[in-house]
Structures are given as C-alpha cells and as structure tokens.
Amino acid sequence: MNQISRRNISRLILLILLQVLIFKQLNIGSAQFNYIQVIIYPLFLMLLPIGIGKGWLLIVSFAVGLAIDMFYDSPGVHASASVFTGFIRPFVLQLMEPRGGYKVNAIPTKAEFGDNWFLRYASLLLIAHLLIYFSMEVFTLTELDYILLKTFFTFLPSMLLIIIYMYILNPRF
C-alpha cells in the first residue's frame, strides 16, 4: 500500500470517528430552532486524489455513506447523498480547472490550489451533499422550506469546521 492510500484510509477513520462520536452527539439549537447539524465527513470525498477513476469514486462514496448510515440509523440516506457527491465531483473539478490543467497525481487541497479555490470547491460539494441528504431524509418535496433551512444552517457550522480542519492538519496529499 502506498503512502497516498494509507493517508486516505487514516483520514477516513478520523473523519468517521469525529462525525459519529462528536458531531452526531451534538444537539445544538433550541426547542424552536432545530435546524443545525454538523456534517463534515464529505471532506473525505473532497480530498480523494484527482486522478481516481469515476467508477471507483462512486463505489468508495457509496461505502462511506453506508458506514455513516450504520451509525445514524438511516440506511440509504447518507449513502445516496455520498454517491451524488461522488458523481458530481468530476464535473465540479472540471468546472474549476486551473489554466494549466491538473497534474496527474494532484490532490484537491488548500495547500495545492490556495484558500480561495478550496473554499469554492468544498462549498459547492458540501451544499450539493446536504441538499440531497435532507431531501432523502424528508423524502417528499412538499417540505422544501425545511430542506432549504436545514441545508443552510447545517452548511455554516460544517463548512467552518472543514476550514478549521484544513488549517490545523493542512493535508498535502
């Protein structure tokens, strides 16, 4: 096993532990205002190497989603959101391709492409992930306001924590 896959596996374990043992246990918000959740594990999908095959990316996303579902008691919900995130990631990367193109082994990190680029990249993927997640959770489109409110108020703290994570650990690969 090479260094990159070792690094990704340890990152996966760390993120699942953080997600399940800390952020799932937080019940932020009051009785009237119940829209805040913290979801940071999609960071793992964001930080996979750019060169990873599209099929593999989908399979990995599905597996990660199922693992999170196991702890959230919500079979399929996280899996569906993750698969969607994995599906649109190549398009987002294409959209944000820098002028010279990507290097073969590049990793989409803050260290490699700069703060601004990473912020836009992560925001896009996280918003997409959360939208699908809450839509699948509600499973009807009649509660659109609920989906949008939850997405918005979950996005803010989650993104903040992703940024903090990137500043503390600053992964390069």
């Binding site: 095959g53 990316l57 989908l58 702890f71 399929g76 899996a79 698969v83």
Partner: protein
C-alpha cells in the same frame, strides 16, 4: 460491439451512479416500511459496541448530575413505598389480592445512543435479548415515555423514539377519557401532536395526557404531558392538540423497558378469543 464497449467505457460510471442511487433509495424506502428485516442499524454488533465504549468514557463527566437525578428518583419511589406499606399495615382485613399481581416488569437500561435533530430519530439501549428485551416492548423514563423497541439482538436493542415520524402511540386525555394517537411533527423535541380526539370532547389547556392502556406496550395511566394548545381544523371532525411532554428526550440517560407479563394471555384472548 465495439461501439457498445466504447459507450460503457465512456458512460459506465453514469450507469453505476444510477445503480447505486437505486440501491440507496431502495434501502430508504424498505427501511421505512419494514423495520424488522434490516441489517444496517445501530443495534448491530459493530456500532453498538462502539457506542457503548464511547458512553463509558463520556459518562464520567456526567456522574454528579446523574447521581442527583437518581437520588431524587429514589426519594420519590421511597415515598410511594411508604404510602403502600402503611396501607398494608393498617388494612383491616387480609385479602389474597390477585388484582395486585404484578403485571409490568421494568428492565433498567442505559441509553448509549440518541438523537433528536433528524426527522426519524432512534435510540440504542445497552441491553438486548439476553436481558429479556424483546421487539415491541415500550420504553419509559421516570417522568414520561421514550419509545418502542423495534429490534433487539443479544446485547443491544434499538428503540424508535417518540420523536420519529413513523411512531404512533395511543394516548388519552385523562380528565375526559377520550383517546387518540400521538405523533411527532418534527421540530421541538418536547412538543408532540395528539390526533383523533373527536371534536365533541371538552378540552382545556393544561389537561393531563396519559397512556391509554389499549395496547400492552405501556402501562395504563402513565403521565406523558399536558395540553399546551388545541385547535379544530376547518371541516375536520377531530382536534389537533399540541402536547408538551414532561420529559426531554434529548437528555435521557437511563430508561426502563416495560415487560408485560400478561402479554401472552392478552394476545391469546384478542386473537383467538379463548
């Protein structure tokens, strides 16, 4: 043929994407209708073990508040015992009273996983079939109800919280005796809706809501909460009653699974009529 292979090479991942989404959606849908036959849930061995270890660590930080709560509960129970014993001592005749035969047995459990932020919340308990917990048993707290056991393996069990869209619990208004079913609309963890109370019932804000005892899941007359507000939807025949729960599910640490010792007899008479 070559074209087909090229197509698969080019767009195979789209097919894979669709396939995986179909599997996911299938899981979501099947899970909501058929709660027994599901493999991925927190009562399964891996995540159950995990949550228990986690809880063992975190609990140290809450010991003092827990001890306070426990001693309060103890005191309340002692008071009740006192009353009961006095009755026995001063009772004038000795009756071989079969009415007081114990019907419900409470199995104390620890809550090792809980959530209130989702629309479909579940709770994991640290006891399972080894300790006598079975599917369909009610779970209560010292001051209210918590949920119903949906599946139990040997060591852990999973409880559908009353804060779950799929959970319906039969409850009645104590003063008038009308009964309906409780449902959670999402949002606040201490507010539920009582439905199916006919509109001729005369309700008042502050009325006590208790378990109805029409199923053997919960003991009868267990206080659940109070009426906070009620309204009659236009053209409807039933009230929509807002109930404020006594307990706060987001803070539950210990709970009791309710075992109905007469369940078999009851079901026998209800099903076969014998």
């Amino acid at each position: 043929m070559q074209n087909l292979l090229y197509f698969l090479y080019r767009f195979g991942y789209v097919l894979l994407f669709i396939l995986l989404q179909v599997i996911s959606i299938n899981l979501v849908v099947r899970y909501n209708t058929d709660q027994n036959a599901i493999f991925i849930s927190s009562s399964n061995a891996v995540s159950g073990w995990f949550y228990q270890k986690y809880d063992a660590i975190v609990q140290y930080f809450q010991l003092s508040t827990l001890a306070d709560k426990m001693s309060q509960e103890n005191a309340a129970l002692k008071e009740q015992l006192e009353v009961f014993q006095r009755k026995k001592i001063f009772g004038s005749t000795i009756i071989q009273d079969t009415i007081y035969e114990q019907q419900y047995q409470l199995i104390p459990c620890k809550v090792i996983n809980n959530s209130v932020v989702s629309l479909d919340n579940f709770i994991t308990l640290d006891k399972g079939r080894n300790d006598g917990i079975e599917q369909g048993m009610g779970v209560i707290q010292e001051n209210g109800i918590v949920g119903i056991v949906t599946n139990a393996n040997l060591k852990y069990s999973r409880v559908i919280s009353i804060l779950n869209r799929a959970c319906r619990i039969s409850a009645s208004v104590k003063r008038t005796g009308h009964f309906g079913s409780l449902r959670w609309p999402g949002g606040s963890p201490t507010r539920v809706i009582l439905e199916d109370i006919p509109k001729h019932a005369e309700l008042a804000i502050g009325d006590e809501i208790v378990t109805s005892g029409y199923s053997s899941i919960f003991p009868e007359d267990l206080l659940i909460g109070h009426i906070q507000d009620f309204q009659r939807p236009e053209g409807g025949n039933f009230y929509e009653i807002e109930v404020k729960l006594l307990n706060d599910i987001s803070k539950v640490k210990f709970a009791y699974a309710v075992k109905d010792l007469f369940k078999m007899e009851r079901e026998q008479v209800e099903v076969t009529g014998e």
